[in-house]
Structure formats: C-alpha cells, structure tokens
C-alpha cells in the first residue's frame, strides 16, 4: 500500500448526501478480476451521458476543466454507503484521489479506503459547509492534509480531524495488514486450540 503522510491537491466539491458505492462504481464494472483500471468508470452514470461512457456530461464536476485532475474530494454526509465493494476506493484511487473530506463516511467504505492508502478526514458539518463555501469562491483551490498533525488546511483555516492510532500508523507506513497480524500467529493457534475444546461443534 502507498504510504500517506501529507497531500495537497485541487479539491472537487461533490455536493450530495448519501453518495453510495453503486454511484461511485456501478455494478457493470465489478466483473474484472484485477484491482486496477477502475478510474475511468468512477461515477460513471453521473460522469457520462451514455451507457457506454463515450459522451461526457459537461455538468458533472469532474468533467469541468478545473477539476479534471482533482486529487481531493469534498463530500457530504454518509459518503460511501451501501455495497461493501472495494472497487469503490480502487476507482477513486485510480482516478487520482488521495484525500476525501466529509462529515461522515459509511463504516465498510472507511475501512476499505484505509487499506488502499486513501485518507478520509471526518470534519464537523459546519466545517464542511465552510470548506464548500471556500472552494465555491476559490474554484480550483488546493486543500492539504497533514496526517501526522491530523489537520486539513483550506485557505487560511486549519481543521483538526480524528483518526484512530492504528489506522494512522498503517497509513503512514503503508503497512501490510496481514503481515502485522501474522506476528500474532501463536495467539491465533492458541485460540483455535481453546475453542476446539470449548465449542467442539464449530470444528467442521
């Protein structure tokens, strides 16, 4: 996983609540067996005016010249809700997004992003309103995130966000979660032995 320490990039405002993972990457693109190449299908139904994805919808934010190379996404409540598909962060990452800022994220989506080196910064609704206002008035403005300091900077304002220590560490180091867990393999084996004795019916 690509480590995340700091990031600065153009912020695209996506002013919608409850953006679900079906909208982020529709089902017809879930059939690949690789993790790459999903970026061109990101937000497919909003981004293109035809099913085949050949005609861009000029009104959609990411099709506007200012935001075509955006790497920061500014979003609303419950971003990433619905299906557990990790294809959603794969598509966002493949497009170029490294940082998403919103008042709240769906739980599974949050975990999935953490495993893919995308930082999700949860800020208060009022602060998000402020940032929407800021990028509305300063089109193409950049927003920065500093993970060690746990801050997001938009213009002159600095906002603090919370992240649990383990996710922070994994992101900073680009840690392989399985490698981390396997250092406790003896504990897993001990648990399995205990459960064999206590709950024998679970030994299929």
């Amino acid at each position: 996983m690509q480590p995340f320490k700091t990031h600065t990039g153009v912020a695209a405002p996506l002013n919608r609540v409850n953006v679900d993972t079906d909208a982020i990457i529709p089902k017809q693109f879930l059939k690949k067996i690789e993790r790459t190449g999903f970026g061109k299908h990101l937000f497919h139904e909003w981004r293109y005016s035809d099913y085949e994805g050949t005609a861009e919808n000029p009104d959609f934010i990411l099709n506007q010249p200012t935001y075509r190379k955006a790497t920061v996404l500014l979003a609303r409540d419950n971003f990433g809700c619905g299906s557990s598909r990790e294809h959603a962060p794969w598509a966002l990452g493949d497009f170029g997004f490294r940082l998403i800022i919103a008042p709240s994220f769906a739980d599974i989506f949050y975990n999935n992003c953490m495993k893919n080196g995308i930082l999700l910064a949860r800020l208060k609704s009022k602060e998000i309103d402020e940032i929407f206002d800021f990028v509305g008035k300063n089109k193409g403005a950049v927003i920065s995130a500093d993970l060690p300091a746990q801050t997001v900077t938009a213009g002159r304002k600095v906002y603090k966000f919370q992240i649990d220590a383990f996710n922070k560490e994994c992101l900073l180091k680009g840690l392989d979660g399985i490698g981390w867990t396997l250092q406790f393999e003896d504990k897993i084996t001990a648990y399995e032995n205990k459960i064999k004795a206590e709950h024998p019916w679970l030994n299929r």
Binding site: N15, R16, V17, N18, D20, D22, A23, P26, K27, Q28, L30, K31, K32, I33, E34, R35, E45, Y51, R76, D77, N78, C81, G82, S83, S84, R85, E86, P89, S104, F105, A106, D107, I108, N111, N112, K115, N116, D164, A165, F166, E169, G177, I178, W180, T181, L182, F184, E185, K187, I188, Y191, E192, I195, H199, P200, W201, L202, R204
Partner: protein, 464 residues
Amino acid sequence: MFEKIWQDHLVRSSQGDTSLIYIDLHLVHEVTSPQAFAALRENKRAVRCPQKTVATMDHNVSTRTKDITKADAISRTQMDTLSKNCQEFGVKLYDFADEDQGIVHVIGPEQGLTQPGMTIVCGDSHTATHGAFGSLAFGIGTSEVEHVLATQTLQSNPPKTMLINIDGKLGKKVTSKDIILYIIGQIGTAGGTGYVIEYAGSAIQDLSMEARMTICNMSIEAGARAGMIAPDDVTFSYIQGRDFAPKGPDWEKAVAYWKTLPSDKGAKFDKVINIKAEDIKPMVTWGTSPGQVTSVDGVVPDPESMKDAVARTAAKNALAYMDLQPGTKITDIKIDKVFIGSCTNGRIEDLRAAAQIVIGRRVAPGVTAIVVPGSGRVRLQAEREGLDRIFTNAGFEWRFAGCSMCLGMNDDQLKKGERCASTSNRNFEGRQGPGGRTHLMSPEMAAVAALEGKITDIRKYATI
C-alpha cells in the same frame, strides 16, 4: 449480546492499536474475492482454514438457465476464476450448477452453517442477515477478505451498541420488511453508522427466522455495521437437523452455550430506541435512498417543506430521478416491473406470502413480474408446494436462484425509465439497471402491485 460474542472471539486485545477477532465462518462469492485470492497467490500465502470458508456464485449467475455458457464472457471469467480459486485453495464451492447454489445469505442459514454466537463475515454488505441467529455478522471489503483467508481473523475495534425495542403487535399485513423500512425512515441511512444494532421486544420475538433475517439484512441500509437478534427456541428449532447443524451430544452443548448469549437484564447500550409495533404500516420508498420512505397510505413529500437544506436538495434530486411530483399518492404510482427475490426477501416464507396474494389472479397487462428464489433449495421447496404454478399461472416468470434484479449484474435489469416494485434492499440510482426506478416494499405488497399495475395498499386488498 454483542459484548459476549466479541469477548468470546478476542484473539488479542487492542494495546492502543487494534484488536484481533477470530472469524468462525467466512462466506465468499465471485465478485469480491478474485483479487483477494490473487494476492494470496502473489504472497505465497495459503487459506488458513478452508473448512471455515464456503463459496457460492450468486451475483452474476443467469436466472434463466443453468447453462454457464449463456453468461457474458466477463461474468464467466469471474465465475471460472472462483472455481479455480476454490479448487486451488481447497474451499467448498456451491457452483452455478449445484442444486444447493443460491444467494450467499440464503444458503448459509439453510445449510445450518449460520449459528448463534458465531462471527461471520463475507465480502458483501448484506452479511448482516446472519445476525438474525444471534451471531455477529458483517460485510467486509476485498482486502479484509484476503486478511480473513490468510489469518482467519480480522483487525477490528468494537463498535458502539444500539438497542431498538419494538413492542406490541404488528398490524394486519405489516411485515418485517415494513419494520426495517420504518426504522430506516426514523433513524436515517446514517443513523446506525458506527453501531451494531440489537433488535428486541415482543414484536421481534413473535417473528419467524425468515422475517428476522429480513430485518437484520437491511441493518446496513441504516448504516449499521451489523444487526442482531437474540437466539431463542425459534432459532434453535430452525437450525436443528440442518446439514451443518451440531449433532448428537454437540447439539446439547451448543444449545446450552447459545442460551447464555442473549443480553442480560439491564445490559447497557450506547443508544436505545423504542418503537411501538402498532405505529408501523406497510412501507414504500419514494426516493433513491432507503431512508426516503413513507407508509403506503402516504404521499410523495414536498422537498420545499423540508427544513434541512441538504435533505431538501437530496429529495429534489430523488424526485427528479424518480419522475415523481410532490403530493402524489403512493397508491397512484404505476409500475412496469415487479421483482420478488433477493437476500432480503427471497426465502420460502416470502414466496408463500406472495403466492397467497397471487393465487387465482393475473398480472396486470403491461407489467413484467419475476420471482427469483433465493436458492436452489428454496426453488425446490416452492415447487413441491406448487407455488411455481401459482406464479406462472398468474403470469409471473419463475426463475433459477441468484441475486438477479436486486443489483442487475446479470441480464435481469430495468431499462431506463422503468419503474419497479421490488422486494430488494436498495433503491439507489441505477441499482436495478441504469435509469431504472425502484420502490422497495414487502413481498405481498410487490405481489399486489403486479396484479394491479400500481402500488396498492395490501390492507385494503380483498384477500382470500
């Protein structure tokens, strides 16, 4: 109950980092697993407990034929990949041709794989279904699928707990689908974010296992990590005798353990919500998020009357997409298609309920209605009971098992602008097909909509 299961599965407590919890059952399907198996192969890792891993094909399968060559080339690659992966890593697979194939959340319970007190995960958000047995069950992403395959554990810190009490008696023709839609309408689609919900109260205890599964299934639509219901005699008698249920002396031991699981009197929850069963009516969604829901005797709301600016914009967008006007009576909404099935409502009891409405009647002209059993076993059971003939005589199509039009990954899709009465779980834009419009409801409500060609109040419908 959550606490007890959590504690019983702790392999390692967090020391300021993350806890490791043991996973008893890992369900796998073709869409969210290929990249996980590929990564295992790359890193020369094995599946730690193949015997605790069970796979099926459900999302992509055709429901018209059992002939895999009829599936599109990319779907076929995904299904072939799952077959190869299961063979290589020693994982049991119910493939498309298997009699017991079906939606992963239908076959787990019907095979007796799902049991109280277990931790169950799957690369699918509707894994919450299995919580109906008093297990801790939740959806995970593909990286976590890989993690569970390799270690049989998951890195996780405990979520908050919410108790939703539903006391009283449900009204006539009010189902568990209406309960969960009502709850989502009350707490919102992010109301459960960060929580595991326990559903309790007399109205929940009165429900069958199938009905309990419908409620837990849609916990994710309330934003919750998982939903659970305390195991009781209804649970035990559902499990007893199933293929993978504990047998002989193990059965007694298991039941004794399962009886220790329900929350103790006075157990503390981070949040408690009380609902009167009598307040719940048959529910129908009008928008593009499951929280945009009202009772069947209601009207499409007016976005202008909404105080919150963000909700107002969301409602406006939804009404534009759904092509609905504020103030329209729900029962004046005409439909083109009906879908009865999915991991939410594709079980035998759902099909029985719908068949009861349909018997001796005809699907309205111009309406296409399909019934997709949740599994091969559900299909077989329904055929034994003659339900297939009730449906086909009425003009419904009778299909093979799969996820089908719940998400339209196969060829069962809505066309642009088509409106569907659906027993599935998500009314997102494009979910059932690009440009398709979804109204979520119970199986009986969907059945009566098929007959009338419009959304109809089941309570006022002349029933047999």
